[in-house]
């Protein structure tokens, strides 16, 4: 299993470093590729223009069969689907995960989610959620009800 894990993450890292999509930069890929930090830059003409955020990816040995654990660290963007503890409500990170998705495509999905925001605000249940949430967003049972992003 771990050989697939290493091969695939090595390929993804190489590709991301050679052809980084706009606004996406890999900062670090440490701990035998198990923990990545990727900088994403808010797109021009959106509410997040000029802002940069750091996404932390944590992979377990079952990647790519299991989704990575993706959270915002340090500076968490204010967005209706992002909780103040950095957890992101995005279906492809949880039950809609597919091994065909890559770190690059996940970053692009999150950027697109940021770009489609019309108002900078926290989710309505933020206060409640951060009190009860576990450390990993994958322990949360997510209900996805906004298909517009």
């Amino acid at each position: 299993m771990s050989s697939i894990f290493t091969k695939r993450l090595t390929k993804e890292l190489r590709d991301l470093q050679a052809n980084p999509p706009m606004g996406i930069t890999v900062q670090t890929a440490e701990d035998d590729l198990k923990c990545w930090r990727v900088t994403v830059r808010g797109a021009e003409g959106t509410l997040y223009e000029g802002e940069t955020f750091v996404l932390q990816f944590k992979f377990n040995n079952n990647y790519p069969l299991e989704s990575p654990e993706v959270v915002f660290v340090d500076n968490v963007p204010i967005h209706p689907h992002i909780y103040s503890n950095g957890h992101i409500c995005l279906s492809i990170l949880y039950d809609q995960w597919s091994p065909a998705l890559t770190i690059s495509s996940v970053c692009l999905s999150i950027l697109s989610m940021l770009s489609s925001a019309t108002k900078k605000e926290r989710p309505p249940d933020n206060a409640m959620y951060i009190l009860t949430a576990k450390k990993s967003p994958k322990s949360t049972t997510w209900a996805f009800h906004d298909d517009s992003v």
Binding site: R8, D15, M22, A43, E44, G45, W97, S105, S112, S115
Partner: protein, 383 residues
């Protein structure tokens, strides 16, 4: 967005490249196998290639969409089986059979056996050896699996029911005394009203300590006991007493609610020691502080009262305590003459206990408040 101008030769046109990325992405997310129309301009195409970096450029080269290993990278000595399991094209067309089987086991739940391609939705057709024994055992296993939660729920409910009924019978025996209790619980009188009424006794007792069931409690005994049990008589029969008790409770609570503010006022008029020693200018502050203390006090007590364990235990012990009080009352000859029936003595004993308990708790509270008001921090006498 133009962080890498060398790699992304985007024109400085006002049209935001973001929409392109978003739409590309959407195409990628929903149906990666679809090739977007080639009619788009050069820049868009460039974008597309980047965002869907794994899209195969050659088309014929086999690449596993799970582990991303290409056929030409593979060790020729290893015999790996490639499959094309669904209608997806390009980068999602081929997979290693091993990789795909792992993905299928990952997605397969205990009940759902069908696994769909995440991109095109095609249900993977799986071949596996099967035989009659396995089929039967699988059926049995699944049946048991689906029945388990219901059986558990039924068992827990049954246990709760049996415990409640037993407690109800115990309460009847305790309150009515052995002779009358035996008569009520004798098999001849054991009808559906008993089966419903007895388990309701502990529930009713707990509810009597809450306000949530205030509307239901006064009516419940009438419904459960039925008309033929309730006869107007003096002294009231056990059935009539049980029907009247919830009303007496409401009345009693109402009396407390009326006199409580009055008791509170008495407490407030007690001169507070630290208030008296303060200079005139600080009196206003002292009054404010006193009020705050009161509020804190109220909070502290209301939490104490809602303590679940004390509430349940206290209400369930009420029959035993009532019986004890009734026995004590019975030892007084005058009471024994006036109230010959042990049931009535027990009820009286219970009521007496409740009144004593509430008075004691009010006194306790008042004293605690007074103590709080005298509280001061001692000056440090050292260096």
């Amino acid at each position: 967005m133009s962080s890498n101008p060398a790699l992304l030769p985007l024109p400085p046109s006002p049209s935001p490249p973001l929409s392109v990325v978003a739409s590309t992405l959407q195409a990628h997310m929903s149906s990666v196998h679809t090739i977007p129309p080639a009619t788009q301009n050069q820049n868009e195409h460039r974008n597309l290639e980047i965002s869907v970096a794994w899209e195969d450029s050659t088309g014929d080269e086999k690449r596993c969409w799970i582990c991303f290993v290409e056929e030409r990278e593979e060790d020729v000595s290893k015999k790996v089986r490639w499959v094309r399991p669904c209608k997806c094209k390009n980068s999602l067309k081929f997979a290693h059979e091993d990789c795909l089987l792992r993905w299928i086991s990952e997605k397969q739940g205990p009940i759902t056996t069908d696994v769909k391609c995440p991109a095109c939705g095609h249900v993977y057709a799986i071949e596996e050896s099967t035989d009659v024994v396995l089929a039967i055992l699988t059926f049995v296993d699944k049946s048991i699996q689906s029945v388990v939660p219901y059986v558990t729920l039924a068992g827990v409910s049954m246990a709760f029911y049996v415990v409640s009924t037993t407690f109800g019978a115990y309460a009847v025996m305790t309150m009515c005394g052995p002779d009358e209790g035996e008569r009520i619980l004798s098999e001849a009188n054991w009808g559906w009203r008993t089966w419903i009424g007895l388990p309701l006794i502990p529930i009713g007792l707990v509810c009597s300590r809450l306000t949530a069931a205030d509307a239901a409690l006064p009516l419940l005994p009438f419904l459960v006991l039925g008309n033929d049990q309730i006869r107007l008589s003096l002294p009231p029969s056990p059935a009539l007493t049980v029907c009247l008790l919830p009303w007496a409770r409401l009345l009693y609570n109402g009396v407390w609610a009326t006199i409580w503010p009055w008791i509170e006022r008495i407490g407030r008029h007690t001169p507070a020691r630290n208030g008296a020693v303060r200079s005139g200018g600080a009196v206003g502050q002292a009054a404010v502080a006193g009020q705050q203390e009161d509020e804190e006090d109220v909070q502290e007590f209301s939490i104490g009262r809602r303590d679940g364990q004390r509430l349940v235990l206290g209400s369930l012990l009420l029959p035993a305590v009532s019986s004890l009080m009734g026995t004590l009352l019975g030892s007084i000859p005058w009471v024994r003459n006036k109230v010959p029936d042990p049931f009535h003595r027990n009820i009286l004993g219970g009521c007496l206990f409740v009144v004593c308990k509430d008075v004691a708790s009010a006194v306790y509270r008042a004293h605690r408040k007074r103590q709080r008001r005298t509280r001061r921090v001692r000056e440090y006498r050292g260096d």
